[in-house]
Symmetry: C2
Subunit: 148 residues, 2 copies
Amino acid sequence: MLNFAKPPQDKALLDEATDFTPRFDDKGLVTAVVTDARDNAVLMLAHMNAEALSLTIETGFAHYYSRSRNAIWKKGETSGNLQKVEQMLTDCDQDAILLKVSMSGHDAACHTGRRSCFYRAVSASDGTAVLETIADHRAFDPKTVYGK
Amino acid sequence: MLNFAKPPQDKALLDEATDFTPRFDDKGLVTAVVTDARDNAVLMLAHMNAEALSLTIETGFAHYYSRSRNAIWKKGETSGNLQKVEQMLTDCDQDAILLKVSMSGHDAACHTGRRSCFYRAVSASDGTAVLETIADHRAFDPKTVYGK
């Protein structure tokens, strides 16, 4: 497993650093944004602990940490929709990760069978917020892929 | 302020819902990914509480919640780099927001003066993780814009 050094106390040093010192939150996680390397479409958002981050860097395939299952999760292990990491970036204060990936399998990231988890637009209507589905193509049937 | 209804207990209902019931975390926040509406480039990652989310929907300009300052923050208020929301989306389980924005001012989202906060690539070298700057153009000088 890769060894991640502790971030400097002075946050101003993070901006221009050439050492990767991820700033894990109080639960030991960083947030990962996942985009399709072909067109930059945002596919999903997930979390990584140090082990998931290390596995992702070392294997070249996206690994996340499931907060609901408290377990490391190799994306696509069940569905076949593996995410090969074409490029990994971090942000100015090193508490977020951007993965540009190529998907295999059904070419879909969402457990609903859609390419992206972001398939609904938010708008206001009479003082409440409503959703409208703007991308509804299903690349796979979740019942078939994940069982019931 | 918009009224956000509580999410359903059964998480499976969130996927296909037409009501927006954001799942705020234990600190009352959702994560927002911000992309450039022109080319989908990921610009930054931020957090929103209910008030920031409501202000963003109602005004059409991105508002975030600063965890370090414990305050609502209208993006660009100091720098002039406002973010006009072209589209807001949410993800399958409604705990993340995607904003597609048009920037004004210097056309830059990062406090370092760069267009995107994700300007460094991560890779492994001899068992540690290192960063390489891959996008170094500064649209503004932070010292001039934010003072010292």
